[in-house]
């Protein structure tokens, strides 16, 4: 059902693509008045469709494995029995563990926290900020007088993985309800295209222009669908980690001081990046190199 939906979307995009032309001399989209998230999303998707015409839009949830066959083969072998299965189990136990006050995570989330990954990150009007799933998890703990968990790995990643697992095949649907949310989106968009660090590279350098182009021994994945499979069990980490752990790692990779995990910048970046993947399905957790 969802697949068919995204197939149709793909088709309609193909037409958009033929009309839109990829240029680097944008004149709009950098002010609150001119930024148009939906146009950004379609432009990005058409950009990738032009570069990789054979790749179905819905396959981008598999990241680089949608583009590079040899990597895909190894990845599929590992997904035969993925290392994160233990984490999903532990995540489920942690998720169902009652807090000292008798409440549990289920009390903090819509639908008892099951099958809701696709709605995160979400704009929270009351807080006036973007709330990622991990932030919501820790807010839930603190609301119930429990200590907040570390942001990057361990328990929070396992709980997030379980919640993503219960949401697999749900279609990402990040909403931008008002101008405040749009401002956060714009901030995230700017971060994504902003060069940092001694190597003077932006997220986009590797994950838009550089997607599937060797950087030393690595093939960066396309940003389209990049968030859908997080948290990931990364062979390099030998364990599960959150999206924002990876953000910090990328910024270090370009020899820049990483920004604050779950700070405004990273949450807004995740807001933008996830909006770009609206219409694709949740397939997290995933295994990556």
């Amino acid at each position: 059902m969802k697949i068919i939906k995204s197939l149709l979307m793909g088709a309609s995009l193909a037409m958009v693509a033929s009309a839109a032309s990829v240029s680097y001399a944008a004149t709009s989209g950098n002010t609150l008045a001119t930024v148009d998230p939906e146009a950004d999303r379609l432009a990005l998707q058409s950009y990738f469709q032009k570069r990789f015409p054979k790749v179905q839009v819905e396959d981008y949830v598999n990241g680089i494995y949608a583009l590079d066959a040899p990597s895909r083969e190894q990845w599929q072998d590992i997904e035969e029995f993925p290392p994160y299965e233990f984490d999903i189990e532990e995540g489920e136990e942690l998720f169902n563990e009652a807090f000292a006050n008798g409440k549990s995570y289920a009390d903090c989330f819509a639908n008892g926290g099951i099958g809701i990954r696709q709605n995160f990150p979400r704009w929270d009007e009351a807080q006036g900020q973007v709330v990622t799933l991990e932030l919501a998890i820790n807010q839930c703990r603190e609301a119930n007088n429990e200590k907040a968990l570390g942001w990057k790995k361990g328990k929070i990643a396992k709980i997030s993985a379980y919640m993503a697992f219960t949401s697999r095949d749900n279609v990402f649907d990040v909403q931008i309800p008002n101008d405040d949310a749009k401002a956060a989106y714009l901030d995230g968009k700017q971060s994504f295209y902003t060069r940092r660090g001694q190597l003077n590279m932006s997220c986009a350098n590797c994950h838009v222009a550089g997607a599937n182009i060797l950087i030393r021994a690595d093939l960066p994945g396309p940003t389209l669908g990049q968030v859908t499979h997080f948290p990931v069990f990364r062979s390099k980490w030998g364990e599960l980690g959150t999206l924002q752990r990876r953000y910090g790692g990328c910024q270090k990779n370009v020899r820049g001081e990483p920004q604050k995990t779950q700070g405004d910048k990273f949450r807004n970046l995740e807001f933008f990046q996830t909006y770009m993947s609206n219409g694709l399905v949740v397939n997290g957790p995933g295994s990556r190199k």
Binding site: P70, D77, P83, I215, R216, A217, S235, K236, C250, K289
Partner: protein, 151 residues
């Protein structure tokens, strides 16, 4: 994770297994061969397992990537069309201990196994299949690269 009972059991069989390691004659593949698994060169490891050097055979199929995505987890599968396969072993020549795994294949189990290995650096991988008539091998080089941001 382990409950008390299996711990007790652990202590008990622990001694036993260690004992076997030493006493087991080299032809009997069933037990974990200390000499083979702790050998620091492929020659020594093979010497500890086989009477004669394995001969290359097209009947042994080794599936491994050309370039490993990450040396820490390299998917490998070995299968063989040979009759009466009793054992399959996998060697990573350039690892500190080259013998990765050795599978005993009882009758009724297909000569077709998959596992995931660790590679310290680019190395030749060799799969050795043993039958009543001898040992046969297939090799392939797997490149391990140092990533720009990944592996």
């Amino acid at each position: 994770m382990m409950n008390r009972r299996s711990v007790l059991k652990a202590v008990f069989t622990g001694g036993l297994v260690a004992g076997f390691g030493v006493l087991m004659p080299r032809v009997a593949l069933a037990a974990w061969s200390k000499a083979a698994f702790e050998a620091s060169s492929q020659e020594m490891a093979m010497g500890a397992l086989y009477d004669a050097d394995p001969s290359a055979s097209a009947e042994v199929t080794l599936k491994a990537p050309d370039i490993a995505e990450n040396g820490a987890v390299v998917p490998i599968s070995v299968k063989s069309g040979l009759a009466g396969v009793t054992s399959i072993a996998i060697f990573v020549e350039n690892n500190p201990q080259p013998l990765a795994a050795q599978f005993t294949i009882p009758e009724g189990t297909l000569a077709n196994v998959s596992c995931r290995i660790r590679m310290g650096k680019t190395s030749s991988i060799t799969a050795v299949v043993t039958t009543a008539t001898g040992s046969f091998s297939a090799s392939k080089e797997v490149k391990v690269t140092i990533g720009g941001c990944g592996g």
